[in-house]
Amino acid sequence: MPDLITLTIDGVEVKAAPGTTILRAALERGIYIPHLCDHPDLEPVGVCRLCLVEIEGRRPTVSCKTPVEEGMVVHTSTPDLERTRRVNLELLVASHDYNCQFCARNTRCKLQEVTRYVGLQQEDMDRLRKPPLDQPLDDSNPFFVRNMNKCVLCGICVRTCAEIQGDGCIDFAYRGIRTKISVMGDGPIAESTCVSCGECVARCPVGALVPKKAEEPSYEVETVCPFCGCGCGIIVGARGGRIVSSRAVPGHPASGGSLCVKGRFGLGFVNHPDRLKTPLIRRGGKLVEASWEEAVSLVAERLSRYSGAQLAVIASAKCTVEDNYVLQKFARAVLGTNNIDHCARL
C-alpha cells in the first residue's frame, strides 16, 4: 500500500492515494464539486469545465484532471469560480431540452444536480438566445432512445464505447454549434456496428440515452444473468410480479460492472405470455391442462414401469446447481440409471 497523500480541500484535511484526482478525492471525502463529464469507470477528459477549483499558488484548474499533491490547498467555491462555473453551465443548459418531468432521467440527472448546486434561475436563461432543439429522435434501437436535444456533449458515451465495450461505434461529429454524437455516417444507430450492450445508456448523465419503455421498479434483487457462462452479476428490478429492469452489479468480480445486450435487455422471456403455467397431459393426441397431482402421479406411475437401462434423463445447463443435484440423485437412486447427461456438448 503506497503512502497516502494529504491535502486540504475547503479547509478539510483529505487523504488520498497517489494518482487520485482532486475531484475523486473530494467526492470520496463527501465534498461535492459539480461535474458532468467525469465518470469513475473512465479516463477523465475535462471538457465540461464545471469542476473548476482554485489551488493556492496556481490558476483555476479542472479538478477531474489534476492529481492530488502533498500539501495542496484547494478551494472549490470562490466568487471567481462561481461566476465562471455559472456561465459554463448556462451555455450547457441553453442547448438542453429541459422538459424534466417527462424525462426518464428525472431526479437522477447529473445536469439537474449541477443546476441545483449552482442555483441557476429561469431569468438567467431567458437572457440567452437558445439554439433550435429540433434534432429528430433516434428510436431505431428496440431497447433505447437517443435524444440529441438533451445531450450535453460530455462524451461519456463515446468513452464508454471505446474504453468499456472496446468497439468505438460512436464519436463526436461536425464542428462548433453543430457538434453532436453520431455513429459512422450519421445514420440511425440500429444500422451501425452498435451491439446494443447499453453500457452508454447506463452511464449517460442526462436524458440523451434512455431505455425505451422504462418502468421504475418497486424493488430490486441481486442475482446472476441466466444466459452464457460469463456469470455476470445483475440487479433485477420488479414491479407487480413482473421483471421491469436489469442493471450491472458494480465492481462484480466476473463481469466488472458490465453487461451485454442479453443480460441488460433480454429478460423479457420471464414474463412472456407463452410461459407454461400449468402441467399438460396428452389426451386424445392433444396436450391439455392438468393439475400437479394428476401430472406427478401419472409420470411416477409411467416411469415405474421401466428398468434403469430403459430410462434416461437429460438435464439442463440452465437449471441451478441444486436443481441438477436433485435430478442426478433421482436418476441414480430412484430410477437406478447412469443414463444421465446434459447439453454441455452443444
Binding site: P142, T223, C228, V270, H272, L303, A317, V321, K329
Partner: protein
Amino acid sequence: MAGLATALGSGAMTNTIAEIAGASCILAVGTSTTAGHPVIGYRVKEAVRKGARLIVVNPKEVDLCRHADLHLPLLPGSDLALLMGMARVILEEGLQDQEYIDRRCENFEAFKKSLKAFSPEFVARTTGLPWEKIAQAARIYATSKPATILYCMGITQHSHGTDNVLAISNLALLTGNLGRVSGGVNPLRGQNNVQGACDMGLLPNVFTGYQRVEDPAVREKFQRAWGYPLKGTPGLTHTEIFDAAHGGKIKAIYLVGENPLLTEANAGHVREALERLEFFVVQDIFLNETAALADVVLPAASFAEKEGTFVNTERRVQRVRQVIEPVGESRPDWWITCALAREMGGRGFDFQSPEEIFREITALTPSFAGLSYRRLERGGIQWPCPTADHPGTPILHREKFATPSGKGKLVPLSYRPPAETPDGRYPLVLTTERSIFHYHSTMTRHSPGLDDLRGEEELCLSPEDARRLGIVDGDLVEVVSRRGRVEVKARVTRACRPGVVSMSFHFAECPTNTLTSPARDPVAKIPETKVCAVRVSKISR
C-alpha cells in the same frame, strides 16, 4: 473437458476472466468471443488496448478479428494440424520453456517425436494457410508472456475435439503458461450453469465433483449417504441416449430444460427417436419444439423465480436469488423432481429449500466442501474450496497438476480429418456459429427486442462462391446436406473464405441442425456440428 482432464487432471478454465485483461498474448481458437461471451470479449479488447497481441484462429473472419494482430482463417476441422505446427515451430526455434518442461511436465520426448508428422508442407496443405503465418503465430504466442489460450465450441464440436483440446494444453505446457497469472488454458463454457451441471454429476460417468461411478469407494460413500444401491458402470451420453431411443432400447426419457430438436446435430434423427419413445416427459418454461412432442409437460419456474446457485465458466459458485413469485402454477425444478421422487417412493427428497440441498452437496463433494450460502453472499467463490476457511482457487495448477503424478502430460497426437469432407455432390463446408443477440433458441426468441436486432437465420458465404453460384445478397437459397434441407436468406460477406459457409442455429423457422453431422468424438461424444458438407443453390421464385 475430457481432454483437459487427461493432460492436467481438471477440465475447467484454469484462470479467471478478469486476468485475461492482463495477458500479453491471447490466442483465441474456435471462439467468437465478442458474440458468444460478450463480457469476456470486453476483457480481450481491454488487453489489446493495453498492448497485448491477439491471435484469432477461426475459419471465419469473426468480429474479434477487428482487434487481432493476426487472423488464421484455417479450413474447418484442421485445428489440430495448426496447433501441432505451432508446437513444432516453438521447439525448432528453441522458444519453449525448457526449465518448466523439465520440472513440471512428463512425456516430452514422446510428444516431440509425434511432431515429425507435422511437416510445414503437410500443415500448410491441411490448414490451407501459409506455413510462415503459422510460424509467426507460434513466435508471438511463445515469446509474449503471460499468454492465455481461450477456446470454445469451435475446438470441441469435432469428431476429434478431445485431441484438439490436448493440442492446446500441449502448447501451454511447452511455454510454461499454466499455473501463472493471466496465462492458462481457458475453455469458455457456453451455458450459464454448464460448469455447475458438470460439477453436479449430470454426466453418465461421475457423481458430483467428478467422483467416478466406477470407483467402489466413491460409490460406497454415495450409497451410504443416499441409502440406495448404485450402478458402477457409466451410462449413455446425450447423443447415445437418442440413438438408443431410436433403436428401441430406451423406452422413456425425462428431459429438463433443453430443446434438442433445434440444438442437437442431425435433428431429424432426434425427432424420430423421440417419436419412438413409449413415454416422454418434458420439464421447461416454454412449450418449445421438443416439449410439443411430450406425453406430459411440467411447467418450471425461471431463474428469476427461485433461489439457488450457478457456477460460471471460471468455476465461480454464485448465488441466484428469487426476484418474483413463480409464474402461474410453475414450480422450481428441484421441487418438481422431489415431488416425482417422493411419489415413486424415493427416500431423501424431503428438502425444504435449495440451501438444504446445497448442504447435502457440500457434504458429499470435496471441491465444494468449504462453501455455504453465507460465504457466497457477496461475489461468489471459485472451486476447489475444500474447507470453510479456504478462500477458493482463482488459478489452477499453481504448484502441481491434478494428475496422479502431479505433472502436466504432454500428449503425442496425430491428425485425423473431419468425418465429412466436401465432395462433388456437397462441395461446401458448413460451420455453425452463434449470434450475439441470441442464446440457444427458447429464451431469447421470447424476449421482445432481441428478434428486432436479429430475427432470422442467414447463410453467410464468400463473394467468390456467391458469384459462382449466381447468388446475390438477400437471395433465398436452399442448403442441402446428406441429412436435411433448409431454406434461408443468403448474406454475401468477405468474412467467409471461399469453400466455407456459416449459419447460426437459433431459429425454429430454419432448423440448421437438421443439416449437421452426428459424427462424434470417440472420447467426449461431442457431435461434429462445426464441419458438415453441403450444397447451396438459389431458389427461383
